[in-house]
């Protein structure tokens, strides 16, 4: 057991483990110390100087986030010195910040605004510095807007990009009064290695980094009587949307969400889960085909391990950083893009609507999906497959704008067609979920039996560990899969690009013996996506994760290949996985962006 340290915070005796910071100890004593640059997912920066406290015996004030406790420390968190200094630092930040709060996208969800309110900063003590700086707004990216005039230099975004994502698209440039958060050569976020994952957006305490929102465009489409608006919701939206509408993290709001979207005036509310199941059919078949080519045909050109391709942040990452491994990526489009392509073909045909009149909207836990929808390859229906991508947060805004009392809504079901879901599809929203769904289907396809895990729960692939590994021995194969008899399928799962990079380095160096790898760009998978409600942190991700598996367990169908709508679409439209139509609509190519 660790050594215990005794200290006193605001006259409260606290005993905590050695190594605990003052901030953590204060939390234990139910003393709230305000913070700005602190984020539980990130390393300690100690640069905003808001969490200053007075430690008896120290000449200066102390940053609570960065100072470990020591025996008999006596701390005051609310002395005159502390209050004055904190207020000064808030006022300084405000003097540098473009405080046009009522015209800000983050109005109402801004940590600096909250602090200003708490300290009742009513008059301008200091000189407004904004006019002295030549600030720019970068809005070239289809996913992220970066407004330097609102930046408070807390460097949460810089730390996120480096520590969680190992991308480092954002960094600190210049010094002193000119110090700013910038990109390589101050290029637009659109022109650098940014993966559009939006983790920085999720952690920005102010409005300096926000998603590019398409709320007005979607309203316009809704109000346009000539348009038929179809809307798909990603698996991870239903377990997080509630957080922006007054619910605690981990609440499943699927039925109310569907009801609310219908109330918005959307013509057809459909489920990305449907194409998640379709992805399993296509990707699973692709994997088995690759394995067959490698094992039976001894084709050495087959790229193994095969890697998942559902996460657009991950796709842009590998295109920039490991282009030599692009052949290893599954050619499957992400479920969002499969859905988009089918909405303007299969759906249009079945519903007898001119695809030109269909506006395809998706609600995603993700900002990278906005970029993905804009990729030139994503027009295989002959139109832009997905017209507008909304984040979970934007959907919450629309629901509020429409004056809907979310809590009192009666739960409703998704529309059909392309509205059927399964447990396997729901868990796409969690790290390890695609792997689990793929294994549930592939194992059964090959052996005719269910995966040998209690209640279909493949627990080794679940959880928040950065890199997970699992092996499945394939025994008792059906005749056509005889070549896999006794084979051990080695899989790896990584979430957060920093972990993806570790796995890719292993693969690139030839040290890995994996066959199939699932990668999700965001920590925790889509449930921790950049488009999810703010805040997102480990505690909240765990709750959302629990909710996802709870939703899975409660589904009547829990295997992708048993989704009746999936069976139907193969019968009516696609013929078979990897077939000609599939190839045209559901698969894609990648770009080497290293040059």
């Amino acid at each position: 057991m660790k050594e215990m340290i005794n200290l006193k915070i605001d006259d409260i005796n606290v005993s905590v483990e050695a190594g605990t910071t003052i901030l953590e100890a204060a939390k234990k004593a139910n003393v709230r110390i305000p913070t700005l640059c602190y984020h539980p997912d990130l390393c300690i920066a100690g640069n905003c100087r808001i969490c200053m406290v007075e430690v008896e015996g120290s000449l200066t004030l102390t940053a609570a986030c960065a100072m470990p406790v020591s025996e008999n420390m006596v701390i005051h968190t609310n002395s005159l010195k502390v209050r004055t200094a904190r207020k000064h630092n808030i006022e300084l930040l405000l003097s540098e910040h473009n405080s046009e709060c009522t015209k800000c996208y983050k109005n109402g969800n801004c940590e600096l605004q909250d602090l200003a309110a708490e300290y009742k900063i009513t008059n301008e003590t200091f000189i407004d510095l904004v006019p002295f700086h030549n600030y720019t707004i970068d809005h070239y990216s289809p996913a992220i807007i970066k407004d330097d005039s609102k930046c408070i230099r807390c460097q949460r975004c810089v730390r996120t990009c480096e520590e969680l994502q190992s991308v480092s698209a954002l960094g600190v440039a210049y010094k002193g009064e000119h110090m700013k958060i910038s990109t390589f050569m101050e290029k637009s976020m659109f022109d650098v290695v940014c993966t559009n994952c939006g983790q920085c957006v999720n952690r920005c305490p102010v409005g300096a980094l926000v998603e590019k929102n398409y709320i007005d465009q979607v309203w316009d489409a809704i109000y346009d009587p000539s348009k038929h608006v179809v809307l798909q919701t990603a698996p991870a939206v239903r377990i997080a949307l509630g957080e922006d509408l007054g619910y605690d993290p981990g609440e499943i709001v699927t039925g109310k969400m569907v009801a609310a979207i219908k109330k918005l005036g959307i013509d057809s509310v459909l489920d990305t889960d449907f194409t998640a199941d379709l992805t399993i059919m296509e990707e699973g078949t692709e994997l088995l085909t690759r394995l067959k080519k490698a094992l039976v045909d001894k084709d050495s050109s087959v790229a193994l391990p095969m890697m998942t391709s559902c996460s657009p942040g991950w796709i842009k990452f590998i295109e920039h950083q490991f282009p030599q491994l692009l052949p290893n990526l599954s050619t499957c489009k992400s479920p969002q893009q499969m859905f988009g392509a089918l909405a303007k073909t299969y759906y249009a045909q079945k519903r007898n609507i001119d695809p030109a009149d269909i506006v395809s909207v998706s609600v995603m836990p993700c900002t990278a999906k906005k970029f993905e929808a804009d990729r030139p390859e994503m027009r295989s229906s002959g139109y832009k497959d997905v017209d507008y991508v909304l984040t979970t947060r934007e959907l919450a805004v629309m629901i509020k704008q429409a004056g809907i009392d979310f809590e009192s809504l009666k739960e409703e079901k998704y529309d059909s067609i392309m509205g059927q879901s399964t447990g396997a599809a729901v868990i796409f929203g969690a790290t390890g979920g695609v792997m689990e769904a793929a294994l549930r289907t592939a194992y059964e396809l090959v052996t005719g039996r269910e995966v040998p895990f209690d209640g279909l729960n493949i627990t080794p692939v679940r959880g928040m560990e950065g890199v997970k590994e699992a092996s499945v021995k394939i025994e008792g194969t059906l005749p056509e899969w005889k070549f896999l008899e006794g084979a051990i399928l080695n899989t790896a799962i990584a979430h957060g690009l920093v972990n993806a990079k570790k796995v890719m380095e292993l693969v690139d160096s030839g040290k890995a013996n994996y066959h199939f790898i699932e990668i999700m760009a965001c920590p925790g998978g889509c449930l921790g996506g950049g488009g999810q409600p703010i805040p997102t942190n480990m505690e909240i991700r765990m709750k959302r994760n629990k909710a996802i598996y709870q939703e899975d367990a409660g589904m009547p169908i829990r295997k992708s290949h048993e989704n009746p709508e999936v069976a139907l679409i193969y019968k009516e439209f696609l013929e078979k996985p990897l077939g000609h139509t599939s190839h045209k609509l559901l698969h894609t190519t990648y770009i080497d962006r290293a040059k």
Partner: protein, 404 residues
């Protein structure tokens, strides 16, 4: 006018005004005055603990300005069982008005290297770095030459210690010890959170002793002359002598070695031009002392400490301009990471300009003084904390000059 009370000393530059390292060899003598010099070989036969105790006993405090007891710093680093440790000599000398390390490195670099090696011996480090200010690049060829022969010397003694020279890139903040280490590691020069202190986790997160150039020379001289001789100089709180960089309105600008604990009035008698109205002690980050306080001001850790910079201003100077100059410097040289320093410096400079041109009332100076108090309390490193020194001392002593 020459002051009778001012005691000039010759400890730092004394004995050997050469870059010759021969004198460090066993039995080596200094060519200039034939006196035997300190012998590294003797030092490394001693118990490291005894050397550290010597330095603690001597009362030597860091010469960079902050004045941390050198012996204690070494002791902390020596206590760590870590195998990999480092010795760093801070030669980033960036404080406006300071140029004494430049002279030391030009004239007696071998004494610096010897001090670093002794430190390495005491804390059990095998590697030392001299972090040289980018603008001192011109010294590099000569320093490397001296260093090569110095390495020969320690090889002959049979001791294992190697020193490298790294160049800074011109950022003032990199003189702050943890920012310096960040810079050495190839990162942006930004101060780290302390603790951990460098003696626990410094360069490459290993225990590190980082001292000023002059501090290492002092260590060498203490080993040469003994603790008792060193303690004869200075006062209870400020032992030894100090190298000063004298500049501004003075008939004799230059580098002078003087006993610590002197009265500022004696200093002004010696170096002033007869019309001195203020002395900025300790550079831009130091304190401005007006004429009326010369007599009561002691230069040393009991009074106003300095890293060496002494800038004299006569009555033709506008203290408003002096302060503006310092604040422009700080606003530019703040690393920009912490709020009070980055934004505070901008507010101070724009604030005094606004008062001067009448956009803000003179009362606003009080608001700014309060702000500097908060900056001193909350800035992450010494840079931001010490902006308050020059600001408050100039504004409160020369208030009329700020307003009219």
């Amino acid at each position: 006018m020459s002051s009778q009370n001012l005691k000039k000393t010759d400890m730092i530059f004394g004995l050997c005004h050469t870059t010759d390292v021969e004198h460090l060899l066993p039995g080596g003598v200094c060519k200039t005055n034939e006196e035997k010099f300190v012998v590294l070989e003797e030092v490394i036969k001693k118990d490291p603990q005894d050397i550290i105790d010597d330095i603690i006993e001597s009362g030597l405090k860091g010469r960079g300005g902050a004045g941390f007891p050198t012996g204690l710093k070494w002791k902390f680093a020596s206590l760590s069982p870590e195998k990999e440790k480092y010795v760093i000599c801070n030669a980033d000398e960036g404080e406006p008005g300071t140029f004494k390390d430049r002279d030391i490195l030009l004239k007696v670099p071998a004494k610096v290297f010897a001090g670093m090696t002794m430190c390495g011996y005491c804390i059990n480090a095998k590697k030392g770095y001299l972090y040289l200010r980018g603008e001192y690049k011109f010294m590099l060829p000569e320093l490397r030459k001296v260093l090569d022969s110095f390495h020969e010397v320690i090889k002959k003694i049979g001791y294992d210690f190697h020193i490298d020279i790294l160049l800074g890139s011109g950022a003032y903040v990199c003189g702050e010890e943890t920012a310096l280490m960040e810079s050495m590691e190839g990162h942006r020069g930004e101060a780290r959170n302390k603790p951990p202190y460098p003696t626990v986790e410094g360069f490459r997160n290993k225990p590190t002793v980082i001292n000023n150039v002059e501090t290492f020379v002092n260590v060498t001289m203490i080993q040469k002359f003994g603790v008792a001789e060193f303690k004869k100089l200075g006062t209870q709180d400020s032992r030894g002598s100090k190298v000063f960089s004298v500049s501004g309105d003075t008939p004799k600008p230059g580098v002078y070695e003087l006993e610590l604990g002197m009265k500022l009035s004696d200093f002004v008698d010696e170096y002033g031009d007869g019309d001195t109205k203020a002395v900025q002690v300790g550079g831009a980050s130091g304190f401005c002392v007006p004429r009326k306080k010369f007599n009561e001001t002691i230069i040393g850790f009991e009074g106003i400490p300095t890293g060496g910079s002494m800038m004299l201003f006569n009555s033709s100077r506008s203290m408003y301009n002096v302060l503006t100059n310092y604040l422009e410097f700080f606003a530019e040289e703040s690393c920009g990471q912490c709020t009070p320093c980055r934004v505070g410096c901008q507010q101070l400079i724009r604030g005094i300009r606004a008062v001067k041109c009448g956009q803000k009332s003179p009362d606003y100076l009080d608001a700014l003084l309060k702000l500097t108090a908060s900056m001193k309390l909350t800035a992450k490193c010494g840079l931001g904390q010490s902006v308050a020194n020059s600001f408050s001392s100039i504004v409160s002593n020369f208030t009329e000059e700020m307003i009219y």
